[in-house]
C-alpha cells in the first residue's frame, strides 16, 4: 500500500508538470479558439533563450528572467501581427496550420540562435527526496516536484485573478465567447490576442524553466507538449481548472498503469496509455471535464 501511495503521489506531482504546459494551450484556445500547436516549441524557445542569455550576459537570474519575459512578450506581439492578424475570419483549421508553421519556425530559430547543445539549468532546487517524509512514512516525495506544484498553484491563482477580476481578463472572456459580439462592443480583438499570446509566452517560460531544470535545456523540451494533449482532452480545452485536474488525473493514471499494468505487457505503456484514457473519455464526455458543452443549430 505504501508503494501504491508513492506511485500515486509521484504521478500527481508529475501531472502538475504536464498541467503547466497545458495551461499555455488553454489560454490561447480560450481567447481565439485556436489550438496552438507551437506551445511546445514556445517552451523550448523560452528555456533556451533564458539559458542562452544567462551564458552570454552573465547577468543575475532575475534580470535574465525579465529579459526573457520581454522576448516572449515580443514574440507574442509579433505572432499576432505577422501570423494571426492577416488570418482574421479565416477558418480555424487555417489558424491551426499557421501554428504548425510557427512551431517549426521557433524550433529552427532557437537552434539557429543558441545552437543545439544541451545546457544545464540550475534553479537551486535539487531533485532529491524529502528526507523527513522518507524517514517517517517511507514515501518518496521530491523537493523539486513539490516546488513545481507550488509554482503551478501560484500560477493558476494569478491567472484566475487575471481572468475574473481584471478588465483585460473580462474582455478576454468576452472575445472567447463571441469574436463578433466583442468587436461590436468595442473590445480590441487584436490587442487582446497580443496580450493572451504574451501571457501564454510567460506560462511557456515558467514551464520551460521547470522542465529545463529537470532534464537540461534541450530539444526534447518540445516533446512535453505531447504530454499536455491528453490533459487538455480530459480537462477541456477552455478551462484553467480543467488543465490542472486533467494533469493530475493523467499523471496519476499513467504512472499507476506503467507500474501495475506495464509489466504484464512488456512495459513502456505510459507513452500511449494517457492517450487511450483521453480517447475513452472523449467517447463519454467530448467537451472534457470542465469544457463548455456546445450545442449548434442545424
Amino acid at each position: 500500500m505504501q508503494f501504491f501511495f508513492e506511485v500515486l503521489i509521484g504521478g500527481l506531482l508529475a501531472g502538475v508538470m504536464y498541467s503547466l504546459v497545458a495551461l499555455g494551450f488553454v489560454l490561447i484556445y480560450k481567447a481565439s479558439g485556436v489550438f496552438n500547436f507551437a506551445q511546445g516549441a514556445m517552451v523550448f524557445f523560452a528555456a533556451l533563450t533564458f539559458v542562452g542569455l544567462q551564458e552570454k550576459t552573465g547577468l543575475p537570474f532575475w534580470i535574465v528572467l525579465a529579459l526573457t519575459l520581454a522576448v516572449m512578450i515580443l514574440l507574442g506581439v509579433l505572432t499576432e501581427r505577422i501570423v494571426l492578424r492577416p488570418l482574421v475570419n479565416q477558418p480555424q483549421i487555417t489558424l491551426f496550420m499557421a501554428t504548425i508553421g510557427l512551431s517549426f519556425l521557433l524550433e529552427g530559430l532557437s537552434q539557429l540562435i543558441w545552437g543545439s547543445d544541451v545546457r544545464r539549468l540550475d534553479l537551486g532546487l535539487q531533485d532529491e527526496p524529502i528526507q523527513v517524509v522518507m524517514d517517517r512514512f517511507g514515501i518518496l516525495i521530491s523537493k523539486f516536484d513539490l516546488a513545481a506544484a507550488a509554482v503551478a498553484g501560484v500560477l493558476v491563482g494569478v491567472l484566475a485573478v487575471f481572468f475574473n477580476k481584471t478588465r483585460i481578463g473580462r474582455a478576454l472572456r468576452a472575445v472567447a465567447d463571441d469574436h463578433q459580439a466583442a468587436l461590436a462592443v468595442g473590445i480590441p480583438l487584436q490587442q487582446i490576442w497580443s496580450i493572451v499570446w504574451s501571457v501564454a509566452g510567460f506560462v511557456a517560460l515558467v514551464a520551460g524553466l521547470l522542465w529545463g531544470a529537470r532534464n537540461g535545456v534541450q530539444f526534447a523540451l518540445t516533446f512535453v507538449a505531447l504530454k499536455a494533449l491528453p490533459v487538455l482532452i480530459l480537462g477541456g480545452f477552455e478551462s484553467i481548472l480543467g488543465a490542472i485536474v486533467g494533469g493530475l488525473i493523467i499523471g496519476a493514471a499513467e504512472k499507476l498503469a506503467e507500474v501495475y499494468l506495464g509489466p504484464l505487457v512488456g512495459g513502456g505503456i505510459e507513452g500511449w496509455f494517457a492517450y487511450m484514457l483521453a480517447l475513452l473519455f472523449l467517447l463519454v464526455r467530448p467537451e472534457g471535464l470542465f469544457g463548455e458543452k456546445r450545442i449548434d443549430r442545424v
Partner: protein, 442 residues
C-alpha cells in the same frame, strides 16, 4: 502590391531558398574522394550528432590541409540532415549515393534504426555501411553481411563487457549469482539489441535480469524508477541516448539510487549527458569505445590547423569531448580504409566496392595509431571477412563531476559466447534471405 503578386513573390522566394538549401556545402569535384554523411545536428539527438559529426568533418579537413588528402586525393563531402529519423535517413542515403561517380565512400548512418532500414539496399547499391559501436550486431559475421561493418565493438560485446565489469566490482563474476540487475533501455531497435545476450548471461551466471523500457524520448521516467526502487536491484545498466540518459541520472538521484551502481553503454557516456544531469551524474560509470581528452597529437593538429589556421572547425568547445573524439576516430578509420583500398587498386578515388575491400582488410595496429596521432584513444582495429567487428574492446570510465576518468584498461566481454550467438543469428538471417555465406572476391 496585390494579393496575387504577394503570393507569387512568396512562391519565388521559397523556390530560391529551396534551391540554395539543395546546393551541397562542399561540392564534390572530379578526381576527389566524395564522402556522403548522413548526420543530425537538430532534433532531440542533435547535440550528440553535432559532436560526432563535428569531429568527423574536422578530421576530413585536417587530412586535406595537412596531408593534401589521401595519397594526394582530396576529400570532399556532403552532410544530409536525418534528425535521427529512419525515413529521413533513407532519403538522405538515396540522395547521397548519386552525388559522385564513385558513390559516397561509406555511409555512417549513426542510428540503429536507419541501419536496419538500409541492410537490404547496400548489397544492391554496392555501398559499405560502417556502424561503429551500433547497428545490427550479427553483421559482425561478414560472410553473411559483406557490406556491413559494426567496427570497434558491437552491442553484445558491450553488454557482456558491462556484465564483466559489474562482476569485477562485486569481487568476481561468480559473485553475480543471485544478484539483481536491471536493464533500463530506450524502447527502440537500439535499446532492444542487447536483450538476447543479457538474457543468456543471466542464465549462465545466475543473476536475475529485469528489462524496463523507457518510451522515446525518455524525458519522463518517474514510473520506471519507482519500479526500480521497489525491485531494489544491485546494479542498473543504462542503455540510453539523448535526453534519456540525463533524465535517468536525475531520476535515480530523486529515487535515491546510487549513481556508482549505474553503468551506461558507450552512447550513454558523454559530457552531453552528464553536464545536463549536473551533480546527479557524479559517480556514474559508462563503457566507452574511445577515450575523451585533448592529450593526443591528432587533437592538437586539428586544433592548430583546422581551428586556428583554417578557421574551419566545427565548434571549439567540443574538442576533446568523448563524442567529438569518437567522430574523429570514425573519420580516421574511413580514411584508412580508403588508403588500404588505394594500396590495392591505385591512387585514385575509390568506388564503394573498393572501399568495402579496404574496410574488410583494415589493420590499424598500435604502431599505426601512434603514427596517426591517436595513441591510446581507441584500441587497434583489425578486420577480416569473418570478423567485421574487430577487437570488441571497451574501457570503463567514471564521471567525477567535472570530467570522465578511465577506471579500467581496455577489456572485452564474453567473446566466445558473443561470437557463437553472432554466427547463429547470422545463419538464421542467411536462411531467411536465401544468402549463401562466403567472402566476396577482392
Amino acid at each position: 502590391m496585390t494579393k496575387h503578386w504577394k503570393r507569387s513573390l512568396a512562391v519565388v522566394l521559397a523556390a530560391i531558398m529551396g534551391a540554395l538549401v539543395a546546393i551541397p556545402a562542399t561540392a564534390q569535384q572530379a578526381g576527389t574522394q566524395f564522402v556522403g554523411i548522413t548526420g543530425y545536428r537538430v532534433g532531440p539527438y542533435g547535440a550528440n550528432g553535432a559532436a560526432l559529426f563535428g569531429g568527423f568533418i574536422d578530421y576530413l579537413n585536417l587530412v586535406n590541409e595537412r596531408d593534401g588528402g589521401v595519397n594526394g586525393i582530396k576529400l570532399t563531402w556532403e552532410e544530409c540532415e536525418t534528425e535521427y529519423v529512419v525515413a529521413k535517413g533513407l532519403e538522405c542515403y538515396e540522395r547521397l549515393k548519386t552525388r559522385s561517380p564513385t558513390g559516397p565512400t561509406a555511409i555512417h548512418p549513426m542510428s540503429t534504426g536507419i541501419t536496419y532500414g538500409l541492410v537490404d539496399k547496400i548489397p544492391v547499391d554496392k555501398i559499405p555501411l560502417i556502424t561503429w559501436g551500433y547497428g545490427r550486431t550479427d553483421a559482425t559475421d561478414g560472410r553473411v553481411f559483406p557490406w556491413l561493418f559494426p567496427i570497434l565493438a558491437n552491442y553484445w560485446d558491450g553488454a557482456t563487457a558491462i556484465v564483466k565489469f559489474i562482476g569485477e566490482k562485486e569481487g568476481g563474476v561468480e559473485k553475480l549469482k543471485g544478484k539483481k540487475i536491471v536493464l533500463l533501455y530506450h524502447d527502440s531497435a537500439y535499446g532492444k539489441e542487447p536483450h538476447p545476450v543479457l538474457e543468456a548471461e543471466a542464465k549462465k551466471l545466475g543473476f536475475e535480469l529485469k528489462l524496463i523500457p523507457v518510451p522515446h524520448p525518455g524525458n519522463e521516467q518517474q514510473s520506471q524508477w519507482l519500479q526500480i526502487r521497489q525491485y531494489q536491484p544491485n546494479w542498473v545498466i543504462l542503455w540510453g541516448w539523448g535526453v534519456m540518459t540525463a533524465t535517468a541520472l536525475q531520476t535515480a538521484q530523486k529515487t535515491g539510487f546510487p549513481r556508482d551502481k549505474m553503468v551506461g553503454n558507450w552512447w550513454a557516456g558523454s559530457e552531453i549527458d552528464t553536464i545536463a544531469a549536473g551533480p546527479a551524474a557524479t559517480g556514474y560509470y559508462s563503457a566507452s569505445l574511445n577515450l575523451g581528452g585533448k592529450g593526443y597529437p591528432v587533437v592538437k593538429d586539428i586544433d592548430d590547423i583546422v581551428y586556428k589556421k583554417m578557421n574551419k572547425g566545427s565548434k571549439a568547445d567540443l574538442i576533446g569531448t568523448v563524442l567529438w573524439n569518437r567522430g574523429v576516430a570514425a573519420a580516421m578509420l574511413t580514411v584508412e580504409a580508403v588508403r588500404t583500398a588505394q594500396a590495392k587498386y591505385g591512387k585514385k578515388p575509390m568506388t564503394g566496392e573498393q572501399v568495402r575491400w579496404g574496410i574488410e582488410n583494415l589493420d590499424v595496429n598500435a604502431g599505426r595509431l601512434k603514427a596517426l596521432g591517436f595513441n591510446t584513444m581507441l584500441p587497434p582495429v583489425k578486420l577480416s571477412c569473418e570478423d567485421h567487428g574487430g577487437s570488441g574492446l571497451v574501457r570503463f570510465q567514471q564521471w567525477t563531476g567535472t570530467e570522465w576518468r578511465a577506471t579500467t584498461d581496455w577489456m572485452s566481454g564474453d567473446r566466445q559466447m558473443v561470437r557463437k550467438m553472432v554466427e547463429e543469428s547470422a545463419a538464421r538471417y542467411a536462411a531467411e534471405k536465401n544468402i549463401k555465406p562466403g567472402c566476396l572476391p577482392g
